[in-house]
Each structure stands twice: as structure tokens, then as C-alpha cells.
Amino acid sequence: MLRFAVRRLLLLVPILIGLSLLVFIWIRALPGSPAESLLGERATEESIAQIRDQYGLEDPFYEQYWRYVQTIGSGDLGTSIASRRPITEEIKDRFPATIELAVGAMLFATLIGIPLGFIAAKRHGSPIDHASLFLSLIGVSIPIFFLAIVLKWVFSVELGWLPSIGRQDVLIEAEHPTNFYILDGIITRNWEATWDAIKHLILPAIALGSIPLAIIARITRASVLDVQNEDYVRTARAKGISNRAVDARHVLRNAMLPISTIVGLQVGLLLSGAILTETVFAWPGIGTWLQAAIENRDYPVIQGGVLFVAIVVVFVNLLVDISYGLLNPRIRLAGR
């Protein structure tokens, strides 16, 4: 298992080299530069030239790339042109928000999706099964931003039950040692802040989790249907083991294999930033940060941010593969 993990981690190196080169070329192929974004109508030929010179944009391509490689090699992801802050600091501020939102969305998706899919499989062909199919279809088809706006409209604007923006009420005094607001509330025993942070997470998590929920429900249903027709399940039932025990020990456990893969992949996707949800809920994560960087041609953020996201996705995929090995002894043992 360790050798497997190390091998996969070593693969990161060529992936990152290739990705960094691709991103570097691609954003310079985009028309425009940070100069026009910074100055707008005030841009004169002289000021644009000065800024381009300052950013080294007139240097030969290989010189620019070498400077970039040196920066990354020293552990520095660069400095944002828009905010003038080191990108590592921006990520430190924003990534916990993205993680919190991703975790909230996946909790919502799995806590509802898995039981829903399981029940649909057990009640295969019944109205419950058809209803879950229908709901899954809706979940996957509704555009996230539309769902987010509707949720906000109903629960925030009309009913006033939940907040519409941000991670916390600005009138609440709270400390944030980890920048995970719910965890921070618990650590500092500030229950008002904890509950407030949870309330702020509810609507964004539901909006963002709607698609993963639909997918997880469908995969669970298919997987459970598959497994419960296997010989070993029939054998277990024939031995007189209770249905509940068969479901728990044999059906669910084996059905979890594809489900855990899907959950892992979804988590990886969500951790790369949920632009639409973050925009609608003014959630300060990395999705909107990267999107603004592309619009403003904030080269260092695009380069550093994309590299960071790539590292995260590769790590998550590695964890998924490891968890697959843990869940399925055949995979683990085959590696020996």
C-alpha cells in the first residue's frame, strides 16, 4: 500500500510540469494583459508599456517561463496582481471556505443520497423507486445557480429563516483560529457562532450538493441492485442470517466500493471550487477567486491557483484509490 501511494505521488511531478506549461502557454495566448484590466480608459500607451515591462511580459517566452519555474521551485506560488497578496496567503484564506462548503455539500449528498438509493433498490419497481429516479433526474438537470437563487428567495428573502450570503453574520464576534468557521466555533466554545456558521452553510450546501446527491443515489441504487443478486448474498440469506445483518455486512459493504469512488471524485471536483454557488451566496472560496483572476488576466493567480487545484485533485484521487484498497481486500492483496 505504501509503495503504491509513493508511486502515485511521484506521478505528481510530471503531471504538474505538464500542467504548469499548459496553463502558462494558454493564459498568454488569451488576448489582453493585466495592464488593460488595471487601468481601463485611463490606459495610455506609455502606462501600458510600463506595466507590461514591470511584469516582464515583453521578455522572451522561455525567460518568462524560467522565472515562473524558479518562483514555484522556491515554494512561492507568486503574488496576485489584483490584491497584491502572496497567492499562498490567498489560498490559506479561501481554501478552508471551499473545503467547508465541499464537506457540507457531500454530507448532504451522502446522508440523503445513500439511504435514498438503498431504499430505492430494496423497493425496486415500487412508487418509492420511481420517485427517487424522478428526483435524481431533477437534481441533475436543474442548473445549480437557478436552484441557489430559488433557495435564497424562498428561505432567505421571503421566509427569513436562513441567511443569504457569506459564512457568518458580521455582527457576531468570533475568533477563527483555523478558518473553518464551524470548527472554530466549537474550538472556542462560541455556540452562537457555531450555530450561525451552520445556518450560513445550509443553503449553499444544499444547492451544491444537489447534483452529487442525484448521482450518489443512482449509483447506490444500481450498486445495491447488483450486489444483492450475487451468490454470496443468496448464500448468506439461505444460512438464515437476518435481512438487516445481510444488508449491513454483505450488501452495503460491497455496494460501497463504486459509491466511495464516486464520492471521492465528487469531492475532488468540489474542492476545485464551486464558482456558481460561491457567486450566488458570496461564499469567499477559491472558485470565484480563480474566475475573477481569469477575467482580470491575473496571471500569477491563474498559474499558482490552477497548480494548487491540480495538487488537491491528485491527492484526493490518491486517497480514493487507497480507500478502495482498504475497502476491498482483493485489491490490497493483489498488490503484494
Binding site: 488576448p31 489582453g32 494583459s33 495592464a35 488593460e36 484590466s37 488595471l38 487601468l39 481601463g40 480608459e41 485611463r42 490606459a43 500607451e45 506609455e46 502606462s47 501600458i48 510600463q50 506595466i51 515591462d53 514591470q54 511584469y55 522565472r67 518562483t71 507568486g78 503574488t79 490584491s83 497584491r84 497578496r85 502572496p86 490567498e90 484564506d93 479561501r94 471556505a97 431504499i119 430494496k122 437563487i149 435564497k152 432567505s156 428573502v157 421566509l159 427569513g160 436562513l162 441567511p163 443569504s164 450570503i165 457569506g166 453574520d169 458580521v170 455582527l171 477563527h176 445556518k199 435481512n243 438487516r244 457567486t279 450566488v280 458570496a282 469567499p284 470565484t288 496571471y299 500569477p300
Partner: protein, 555 residues
């Protein structure tokens, strides 16, 4: 299992109902009556050091914390005393003597005096390296034209010579040449006076260029979690990225103290999200309301819209390097061929007014009796024939894509309407467009965007030179003309220190410009702010120099 399922369902339903009841009972408590106002902003500030920013988000916060020698009367561009009680200009506008207020201290206890004023002026003049750049100290370079040490890549023609403290309460600023727009420019946030002690202590002059050439502040001045110190009615309490920026009332303020105890700025980049946050009460005000959201706010009995006076101008450039547009008759034909009233009525959602000259009405020097050019296709055709041209006259007309500007929300729509009206007026429009980014503005300024193009300008500060001086004081590629008399008049006006004479010179210039017709101005727009109805005392300013000190809740 069936029984178990029913029990599970029942538990879930009860749990959901309990949660709903709890949420309903604890529904939001907003700060809508109290001592704290939450204001929604379009993003996070870049820095709280006024000398190194030019974005509205940063400037709004800095305006509450710092003050300049002069300011503008609320809601107007009239210069009024602030940290300076009075001033005189001598030596034909080269030497400015400011008599300062006494008994004023910065938030950190440092006394405000002439030495502090000179420390600030000298700091800007001595900017070098990453600080000496259009991208960093834009306003300093625009107004003062250069630094002590020439910045690489920029022409250096510094206006500032020196500052001398003649005692504690008199600061004498000497310029290298006469200039009168300098006084109005001092109201800019970039020239507010900050505490020299704090700037030194927190490393305000520490900055470097990162390996990728980005200006990076090196100290803790003006950065999140750091400090920014002025003499204003509010002082900075805290700034946490992604969370909030808090300013609190300065109880030692030298003037009338703020009514609110606290103002909290909250970044909400999405326009719709800002509107909804106002509707739910999570914020009590925000800026830059989208035109399509204004009816929504107006219909809500708990909300209201405040208009900011227009401070921009949308216009059609006429490039005289392209024949036959060097012929004044042809330019007049263009003016009569543009249905300006139609465009403003159709595409500005009630927020626009037709522009008759190249500056908005609030600015000093606006002339009421300039020549006007009502839409008249027949008159346009007559003028073209008078110029000896065969109709239709072909004209390349450019507009930008992928952009919305405050003075031109939908360039394509403006273009289509103008093209249609020109086509009826003896012209044949050849449409051309380019994305705003990367180079539409560059093309316009270089004079390579056809004979006609759509562009505009939002004023930086309340001085006429910032409008018609920027456009017409020197020969420029955008307009393609040499008019020595106009250049001389505007160069004379920019150094005239007598306000009455100055006003008269600019009015004269505006009349000449609208006769000469280097272009056709067509719209000024009024931006809008949205507030909860029980928030009063906010006075919108044409240059967005707005104080929260007079704001309070009623009811």
C-alpha cells in the same frame, strides 16, 4: 423493515419540522436600528494606504479614516476647507500656503501639524521602484506628473518642488510651475494626510516587486490585519479577508462626531447577491445598483434608491486624421445624424441624461449656452452636400464588445441605434468592433479605431481639467487635430488660480469645443445606491467621496 422505515420517516419529518420552527423563531436579527451599519461592497479593498490605490472599494473605506487639506462640499464638487482652514496662492500659483487646523491628532495620538503634511507630500514625491508606477500611485502620477527620481518607462515632468513647515500650523507647498487644478486634486483620497508615525512604524514604504513583477507591500501598513491611520471621523478596527472590515467611531474627532458607532464593510461581488442581502436586511446599503434592479428596490416599501450625481460622459470620437472628418461641416453632420435622445431614452433605464458638452453639469466651467445639435437627418444631409460630398458618405464606426461601462451599459445597442440614425442622415456606416480587452482603448487612443468610435470617461476628481483638459489640452492621436488656440486656452485655464476667472475660461473653452466639435458627447449617467429606508444622512457625491459620519438610523 417496513415498520422500521415508517419510524425512520417519522423521525426525519419531526426533525425537519423542529428545525424549521427553530429557524423561523430565530430568524435574522438585523442591525437595522442601532449603532452599526453593514454596507455591501463589490469586493475587498486592495490596500488601505490611499497613496497606492485607485479602486473605488479601497477609496470608500480610506475616505472614512483619513482626510485631506481640502475636501468637497457633500454632494458637489465645490472645494471646502478640511484639515486646512484656509489657503492662499502666490507667485502666480506656484506657491500655496495652507493654514492648518490646530488641536487635531491622528488616531494613534501623533499630532497633526505642518511637518506631518510635508512628510506625506515628500513621501509621494520620493516614491521609487515599485511605488513609482501608474499601476501603484496612479493619482500621484496623473496630478503631479512625475517623481523626484524618474520612473522607468514613464515621462517625468514633476509639478511638485517642495514642502516647508513654517511653524506648526502653516505648510507651504511650492510647485515647479503654476497649476490651479492642483487644489481640487488635493481632495482626492490619494492625497489625504496619514500619520507619519504609523507609516514609519508599520512599514508603509516597504514594498517590492515579486519575481513576476507584481507590487507587493512589505510592511503592515494598509494590509489586511495591519494598520491605517488618519484623522478621520472613523478609525480602522479590523480587516479580515473574506469576512469583514470594521471601522469604529473616532470619539476624539476634531469635528462633529459620527453618529454610528460602527460601520462594517462586507464584500459581495455578485450584483444580485448584494440586492438580496439588502432585501433580507443582512446589509443596510450598497453601491452600484444595476439599472434593472432599481424598480425592484423602489417597489419595496422598506428600501430606497439614492442617486449619485452624474460624473461621467459618453461620447463619439471623431478622428480628424480620417478624411473628410477634418471638415467641420462633416463633423456637424455627424452630430445632427446621431439620435442621442433616442439612445439615452432606450438604453439607459432612466438613469441617463443627454450630454451637450464634454463634462457633466456639476463640474466648474459647465456652460449652459453651448451650440446644440438636435437629431435632424435632413440637416445632416444638407451639411454633407454643402461640404461637396456625394451621399452616402462612408464612415468606419467602431464599438467595443465584451464590456459594460457605467456611461455605456450596452455598447452594441448604442452602436446599432447610432448606425441606424447615421444611415438615415446621409452616411453609410461600416461597422467595426473589437473586444474591450485587450486593446479597444489602446486603438481609440492611438487613432486606429476608425473615423468614429464609442468611448467615455468617468472623472477622477472634481476639476474641469480632469475632463476637457485630459481630452483637449494637447495634441492626441485619438482626435487627430491641432488647434493651438484651444490648447492655449486650456493651458491658461489650468494655471488660473482665481476661481471666477477660471470658471469663465472653462466656460469659454466648452463653447469653443462644441463649435469645433472634435467629437459628440451624448450621455451622462447617474449611478445609484440602495439603502434600507430607515437609513438617513448618506449624501451621494459625484466623485463618490461620501462620508458615513452623518449616517444614522431612524425609527
Amino acid at each position: 423493515m417496513r415498520k422500521g422505515l415508517k419510524v425512520l420517516l417519522a423521525v426525519v419529518v419531526v426533525a425537519l419540522m423542529t428545525a424549521a420552527a427553530t429557524l423561523a423563531a430565530n430568524s435574522r436579527s438585523d442591525a437595522s436600528s442601532g449603532d452599526t451599519l453593514v454596507f455591501g461592497t463589490e469586493g475587498e479593498p486592495t490596500s488601505l494606504d490611499g497613496a497606492v490605490v485607485s479602486d473605488g472599494v479601497s477609496l470608500r473605506v480610506i475616505d472614512q479614516i483619513t482626510e485631506g487639506l481640502v475636501s468637497l462640499a457633500p454632494g458637489s464638487t465645490t472645494i471646502v476647507p478640511k484639515l486646512a482652514r484656509s489657503w492662499t496662492a502666490s507667485n502666480r500659483g506656484r506657491v500655496w500656503t495652507f493654514r492648518l487646523r490646530t488641536g487635531v491628532t491622528f488616531h494613534d495620538g501623533t499630532p497633526f501639524n505642518a511637518s506631518a503634511v510635508c512628510a506625506n507630500f515628500d513621501r509621494w514625491y520620493n516614491f521609487t521602484g515599485p511605488f513609482a508606477s501608474d499601476a501603484t500611485s496612479y493619482y500621484y502620477y496623473t496630478v503631479f506628473g512625475g517623481y523626484k527620481k524618474k520612473a522607468s518607462g514613464l515621462t517625468n515632468f514633476p509639478l511638485y518642488r517642495s514642502c516647508r513647515a513654517a511653524g506648526n500650523s502653516t505648510a507651504v507647498i511650492t510647485l515647479r510651475r503654476p497649476n490651479a487644478s492642483f487644489l481640487g486634486a488635493l481632495s482626492l483620497t490619494a492625497f489625504h494626510i496619514q500619520s507619519p508615525t504609523a507609516m514609519e512604524r508599520y512599514g508603509a514604504n516597504k514594498g517590492s516587486l515579486s519575481k513576476d513583477g507584481v507590487f507587493t507591500p512589505g510592511g503592515q501598513y494598509g494590509v489586511p490585519g495591519g494598520q491605517a491611520v488618519g484623522t478621520g471621523a472613523f478609525k480602522l478596527e479590523s480587516w479580515t479577508i473574506g469576512d469583514r472590515l470594521v471601522i469604529v467611531r473616532n470619539d476624539s474627532y476634531w469635528g462633529r462626531k459620527a453618529i454610528l458607532r460602527r460601520v462594517i464593510f462586507r464584500a459581495i461581488p455578485d450584483n444580485a447577491a448584494r440586492l438580496q442581502a439588502l432585501q433580507t436586511g443582512e446589509i443596510q446599503g450598497y453601491d452600484l445598483v444595476e439599472p434593472q434592479d432599481i424598480p425592484t428596490i423602489k417597489k419595496n416599501s422598506k428600501l430606497k434608491v439614492l442617486d449619485r450625481p452624474a460624473f461621467n460622459v459618453a461620447y463619439v470620437t471623431i478622428n480628424q486624421k480620417v478624411k473628410p472628418f477634418d471638415n467641420p461641416l462633416v463633423r456637424q453632420a455627424v452630430a445632427h445624424g446621431l439620435d442621442r435622445a433616442g439612445v439615452v431614452k432606450a438604453f439607459y433605464a432612466g438613469r441617463g441624461e443627454v450630454a451637450h458638452e464634454f463634462m457633466p453639469p456639476q463640474v466648474l466651467g459647465y456652460a449652459k449656452n453651448v451650440k446644440k445639435y438636435p437629431y435632424n437627418p435632413n440637416r445632416a444631409k444638407q451639411l454633407l452636400q454643402q461640404a461637396g460630398l456625394t451621399l452616402p458618405v462612408e464612415v468606419e464606426f467602431w464599438y467595443p464588445t465584451d464590456v459594460s461601462r457605467p456611461y455605456m451599459p450596452d455598447p452594441a445597442k448604442n452602436f446599432q441605434a447610432f448606425a441606424a440614425s447615421l444611415n438615415k442622415s446621409g452616411f453609410k456606416v461600416i461597422p467595426k468592433s473589437a473586444p474591450w480587452r485587450p486593446d479597444y482603448v489602446g486603438r481609440v487612443q492611438a487613432g486606429t479605431a476608425g473615423a468614429l468610435n464609442l468611448i467615455g470617461w468617468t472623472g477622477d476628481f472634481g476639476d474641469p481639467d480632469n475632463f476637457i483638459g485630459t481630452f483637449f489640452r494637447t495634441e492626441q492621436g485619438q482626435w487627430g487635430f491641432k488647434n493651438p488656440a484651444l490648447f492655449a486656452l486650456l493651458n491658461k485655464a489650468v494655471v488660473e488660480t482665481n476661481p471666477v476667472k477660471r470658471k469663465s475660461l472653462y466656460q469659454q473653452a466648452n463653447r469653443i469645443i462644441m463649435n469645433f466639435l472634435p467629437g459628440v458627447p451624448y450621455a451622462h449617467t447617474k449611478p445609484a445606491l440602495g439603502f434600507q429606508r430607515n437609513v438617513i444622512g448618506y449624501k451621494p457625491s459625484p466623485v463618490s467621496l461620501e462620508s458615513f459620519a452623518t449616517v444614522r438610523f431612524v425609527g
